[in-house]
Structure formats: structure tokens, C-alpha cells
Amino acid sequence: MRLLLTIWAVKLSVFALRALGRQGTHVPGLIARKLHPGIIGAVRHPARVVVVTGTNGKTTVSNLLAEALEAQGLRVASNRNGSNLAAGVATTLIGAVTWTGRPKADIAVMEMDERSAKLILPGLVPDLLVCMNLTRDSIKRNAHPAYIAWIISSALPERTSLVLNADDLIAASLGGESNPRTYFAVDRLPTDGDRPSGAAVDVAICPVCDHSLDWEYWRFNHIGKVRCPACGFRSPAAAYRALDIDAANGRVTLELDGESHPARLINGNIVNVYNEIAVAAALGRLGVPKDRIVAAFERLEPPTTRFATEMVGDVQLVRLLTKGLVGVACSRAFEYLASFRGRKAVVLNIDEVSERVTDVENTAWTYDADYEYLADDSLGQIVVGGVRRHDQALRLAIAGVDPARILTVESETAAADLIELDGADEVFNLHSVHNALITGNPVQKRLRARLQEHA
């Protein structure tokens, strides 16, 4: 009876919140967990449950996976529009049962915040868990990737099958001997290196003998393929691989458990190549025939919200989400910026909004980020706005950016007025997640207007 009361309370609260124009995905779950702390395990689940987690890519992959499964004619329950915490999972599960508690979905695809594994996995007992990667995230919350791996492994049911990234030795280490495992990988790329560089490399020694590892290819952070020259340890072999990536023509070869298939490349960014092969591996593990896996990619589109470009006259204006507090995410944004070949002007506003007034941001994370990508003569000027502008300026100088090219200003939006646009081929608006609306939007508008005047 307690279970039914909880289901009814949640369904009614979702109805009420949606009537008020709210999404109603988190609060009902909080209510559910209050009324029935074991709700995630107590409510009846769809016949199959898939969890997607990891530091980066979990939202995209869970969305793509849900879409692909719907295209197979399945009724899919997913938290794609809601919270990936325990409350969001609870809301989604209750949304996937009738008022009498009977399942009305064939399969659940749940995005899971990796830090919340302990609250979600023991009750959910997924059939399949996909882990995209485990890289450094918030120092305050996530500490380091091995900690997150420990949290997930500690909470992982023995019977859950794993789909893991073979190019990430930390993610690949998840689970125990009882967990069946399938690996995915992206073969060596022309842009890969032979040894790691950068501030945040979390796999450098052999997990067996502590000897320094050799890299067959190194991509970024600790992502790549390794072998130990001392004891012979190697990265696991991947049954699902992406290779022969042809970004210009949007094609890729997918190696699907021993069968090679040409396929559409959903996006040329390496992050999305991993997303595509992870979706293929998960579909394969769920028993979707290989030709239908390949066909699914003809329709799937990843979201492209992290960057946007537009031409204003002869100048390319690039807006780039640069997630403050997370060094690894910033490194990828800076690397992307550095891949542009023209003369650059950069506005950088990545202070953490929540710590501006009621705290003093710990900027240690900036030394986990590779600002060195910005130390290039093609960068004409960088204007840094915000409360922690002096810390950012010092970080840039230590990275090798000429201090004469760095300008600081307290107002984030004023940075858009101060940036020197003469001679710039590309103008970048780098902002964080929480200041996207209050800073990212007005800076973009002002830069666009100035470039239009300039043109």
C-alpha cells in the first residue's frame, strides 16, 4: 500500500507541477524518496534497464540510445528531460508504471550522475551499464576519477553487464569478475600522440607492476591505448571499434563484434565518435541486429550545444561553452579554440557564479586545465572578466601567454567592449555553464554588434 500511495503522490505532483509550467522531474522524485526511501528498488521496472554514466557524454549517449530503441518500436522510459540524480530516476520509474504499478515501458534508459551510483544502482539493478569515461571533474565534489570508479564499482550489482571504454583504463576497470563486459574504442587517429602531456593525466603507471606505461596512442588526459613494457599488461581488446573516420564526408567504419560496417558518422568531433561507438556497443549488447544498428545512425543527431559559430562579415564569431571548475572540460574547449588557424581575439568569462559573493572560488582547478593551448602567437588579445580575473590572468601567464596580451576587467560583459577586434579572423566568446544567460548571451550580442559595425 505504501508503494501505491507513493506512486499516486508522485503522479499527482507531476501533474500539478506541469500544470504550473514546471518540468516536474526532480521534486516528485524527492517526494517519492521521502515517502518510500527504497522506491527505486520497490517500483516495478521495465523488462530491461540500461544505465548510462561517466564524466562526459552520458546525456548525449542516453538520448541517442533512447531514440534508437524507440526507432526499433520499443516503448522507452528515460530521464532525458529530467534529473540524473536519484530523485530523477525515481520520477522516471514511476512515470513508467500505471496507477496500479504495472510497467508500461519495454525498456528504461537512465542517465546516471556517476556520484549518485550508491543511491541508484542497488535498487535499480540495471541489466546493462554503459560508462563513457571517468576523467577529472569538480575537485570539491568528485575528487579524482579513481574515487568515482570506486563509488560505481562498490554499488554495482554482480549481474549487471558492462559496456566500457577500452581507451579509458579507469572506466575500463569498473566492476568485478562476475560482471560480463564489452569494450568499445576509437582506433588510432592521425592527431593522436605517442606519450601523454598536459596537467591531468590519471593513468601513467601499470596497474599491475607500477612501471611507466608505453602508449600505442595517446589522445587526451588518460584516454588512449597502453601497454606495459615490464609485465605485458595491455588495454583491453575492444569488440566495438570506430575506425577510418572521414569527417569531411561524414563516414566511419564500425567494427561490430567481428563484423565491419561502413556507417554514417553522426559528428566529426572525437567526443561524438566515442558517443556513436558506445551507442553501437550498447545496442549490440541489447541484441539489436547489426544492420539495424548501422541504420540507426542514419537518423541520429547529437546535440551541438557546446559551441556555435557564425560569420559576421569576414570574421568568425565562435561561442564556446567552457565549463568552469572542471579543468578537463576547459582543456577540451581550449584545444578546440587552438584548432582554428586564423588570428584570434578571446573573451574569457569562466568564474563560478555561485561563489562570487558568498564564497571565494578555489581556482586550483585552473592548474588541472591546459591553458597552454592558448599560448600561441595567433592569439592577439585575451580579455578576462570577472571576480577571479587576476587568478585567470596569472594562470594564462604561467601557461606562456604574453602578459602584454592579457587584459582584465571586473565586469564580464564589459570584456566584450574592450576586446580589440582589428585584425582578428576569429573572435571567441568563452563562458561557463552557470553564466551562459547572464554573461554568454549579452557578450555574444555585443560582439556581434561590434563586428557588424566593424564590417
Binding site: 596537467a199 601513467a204 603507471i205 571565494v360 582547478w365 586545465a369 601567464a397
Partner: protein, 251 residues
């Protein structure tokens, strides 16, 4: 004189951006020789005498590996500290030199190298995040050290073990003391991250002066470093930015 700085186990002791402590020192002293000692290497300090030995933040397993690698050299470490060699251990690196690391959630309780009488207890679901400001003897009272804590561990030690600093605000080795870190002769161990030497230019100048008394210390990017320090010092002086959990609790 040229400086020799030994970084211990940088392949595993590299969390929280703290290796920038040494990157910054290397920019202040471009002539410095930086020795990066891997886990399977014999440390330079075993047969030589580096001017500074540095160990940075580690994972929990990294701490245990570091203990295993350093334990055979306990006597040499004691001798170096007693004879005045400079050491800088940041974040949880100090715990490696303690007597015990207890981590119930991960299921271990291990002795440390045992250089200092201190014990660390980790709470893997109780990470502490906070700010610290406190005076140190190396610099004037109006230039206190500022830094951050972001850690699973709390350290207990006798109050007779001298601290790196006494916090004016923020907690020390644990929530019931303002005494933070450890110092003995020229050994400094502190849980503060930031990185400490980047965030505290006045302290860094003093450290450089101690490492090489014959040279006038020069700070890399001094103007920017001092601007950042002063801005943070001002913010640390703002009561609205301090929280109850950052106060030392009565025992």
C-alpha cells in the same frame, strides 16, 4: 648556485593542479634542475641532497604506493630533515609521513612511513571543502598565507607537533584545531591546495630566499601574482564569504 628540486612520484602525485607549485618555482628559477622521480626509481635524495623535495596530492591507492616506496628510506629522510633539507608536502602527501592512515569505507588501516606522530582518518562520503588563512613566520603579519582544503581526511597529532600555520580563519589539521599542517626544521607539510606557491607570492619569495640565500629571489609574473593574492586577501576578509563549517569546533 643552481637549485635541484626533486618531485616525488609525479605520475601518481599530481592531483588538484598542485604540481603547478613546482612549475611555478621552475619559472621563478629557470636554472633549477627538476628531478622527476618515478615510483619505480630510487629517489635522488637517497644518495644526493636536493635543495627541495616535493610530494603532491595523491589518490588513496597512490598514498599507499608512496608509503611502500618511501618506507625503506625512513632513516635517510629523518637525517635529511634533521640536517635542514627543505621539503614541501602538500594536500594528503603529509599523511604519507604519518604513523597511520585509516580508511574504513575502502577497507584499510595502514601504517605510514612514520616520520611524524600523526594519524589520518578518511571519510570517503564526507569530503571537506573550505578556506584557510593564517600567519607563518616566513612572512610579515600583513601577508598571511591563504589556501583551500578539499579533502577526505582529517589529521590528528599532538599539539606539540608544530604546525605549518595557525589558522586565523578556517580549520587546521581537523575541525577541532586551528593548527594546520606540520613543520620541522625546513620540512613543511600542509593540506592546503591552491597551489600554495602560486597563490602566496610573498611566502614563495621567502622560500626561494631560504633555498638559495646567495641570490635575490625573483618571482615569475610577480605583478599578476601579487594582484591575484591581494584580491583573494580582500575577499577572505569579507565575513559573508565564511561559513559555519569553516570555524574551529570546540573539542
Amino acid at each position: 648556485m643552481s637549485l635541484t628540486i626533486e618531485m616525488l612520484f609525479p605520475e601518481v602525485a599530481n592531483l588538484h593542479g598542485d604540481n603547478a607549485n613546482i612549475a611555478y618555482l621552475a619559472q621563478c628559477r629557470p636554472d633549477a634542475r627538476i628531478v622527476r622521480t618515478g615510483l619505480t626509481d630510487t629517489p635522488e635524495f637517497v644518495s644526493g641532497r636536493p635543495d627541495l623535495v616535493y610530494l603532491g596530492p595523491l589518490t588513496e591507492q597512490g598514498q599507499l604506493k608512496a608509503i611502500q616506496r618511501l618506507k625503506p628510506h625512513r632513516k635517510r629522510i629523518d637525517d635529511l630533515i634533521e640536517s635542514g633539507t627543505s621539503f614541501l608536502f602538500t594536500h594528503n602527501a603529509l599523511e604519507v609521513f604519518g604513523t597511520r592512515i585509516r580508511n574504513d569505507e575502502m577497507g584499510y588501516d595502514e601504517p605510514g612511513v612514520g616520520v611524524f606522530q600523526l594519524e589520518a582518518t578518511l571519510k570517503m562520503f564526507g569530503r571537506y571543502n573550505g578556506k584557510v588563512i593564517g600567519r607563518v613566520p616566513e612572512v610579515a603579519v600583513d601577508a598571511p598565507v591563504v589556501g583551500y582544503k578539499s579533502q577526505f581526511s582529517m589529521v590528528t597529532a599532538s599539539d606539540e607537533v608544530p604546525g605549518f600555520l595557525t589558522a586565523d580563519r578556517g580549520i587546521g589539521r581537523n575541525t577541532t584545531t586551528a593548527v594546520e599542517g606540520v613543520r620541522r626544521n625546513n620540512f613543511i607539510g600542509t593540506s592546503l591546495i591552491g597551489p600554495l606557491l602560486v597563490m602566496n607570492p610573498h611566502f614563495t619569495r621567502a622560500l626561494l630566499g631560504r633555498l638559495d640565500p646567495d641570490s635575490e629571489p625573483v618571482l615569475a609574473h610577480e605583478r599578476l601574482a601579487v594582484q591575484a593574492y591581494e584580491a583573494r586577501l580582500t575577499d577572505f576578509g569579507d565575513d559573508r564569504r565564511w561559513h559555519p563549517f569553516e570555524r574551529v569546533q570546540s573539542r
